[in-house]
Symmetry: C2
Subunit: 126 residues, 2 copies
Amino acid sequence: MFDEIDARSPIPLYDQIAARIRLAVAAGDLEEGQALPSVRQLAARLRINPATVVQAYRALAAEGFVEMRQGSGTYVRGVSADRRQRAREDQAQRLARGVLAEAARLGIAGEDVARAVQRQLGTERR
Amino acid sequence: MFDEIDARSPIPLYDQIAARIRLAVAAGDLEEGQALPSVRQLAARLRINPATVVQAYRALAAEGFVEMRQGSGTYVRGVSADRRQRAREDQAQRLARGVLAEAARLGIAGEDVARAVQRQLGTERR
DNA sequence: CTTACTGTATTAGCACACTAATACACTTGA
DNA sequence: TCAAGTGTATTAGTGTGCTAATACAGTAAG
């Protein structure tokens, strides 16, 4: 699950780790109550510093995906399906707001962006 | 036109400057062949370093918005309407690709993003 | 209780992007 | 020709985010 973590990527390590786990939780590969590897275990496995793993776990905890219990471990947090959907929509809204702001900065109409997104979705399925 | 440039903004100065000019060109406020302020003039007016203005102009030149002529000045470049539209669509595609990649990292479906963009566009017109 | 594991907190090193400083080369017009 | 304006190039300073190092504090099981 963590095989594709790459220290030379421009994407921060903690971000890559968090992304992996987010996807695993979203896909149901990690179930409620299940323990994640300890920060030291995962750090050793990836040959990186424990603090970096902590940063990833902390981000996930802030998003409500996991719960960190001092002295015990980090566990997948159960959330109802509709609440999870709600969170996804909020995130999507934030992303949309960001990309539209960026487009405005570049002098590009929101409609052009919307069209481009639709087009990307279309070509992706081929 | 450059009144809203803010050194304390998280957005880089050169980026803010370039954005202003891009919008002015796109809106037709700056016409073909028209000279922009010299790098020193604009730098003095904004109380920043000339090299920062250069960075903004260079970005615009790379995008084909302006042309820099050593010893002479920086001039708005004329581009045909359809070529400009083409450039806008390319930019939009790049933005779409980026936001969808980000969404994937977060475990969010592209459809959710598309819906969020549509919704933003709707609420913006009220 | 003690041991061996958990997460927590603080500090430091490092890289990279942004901005500034300074010297250079070209153009224009008197 | 030359003076005063233009953009060009290289180098240096600065701030911020990422990663690492190290010491601290809680939990759980023998």
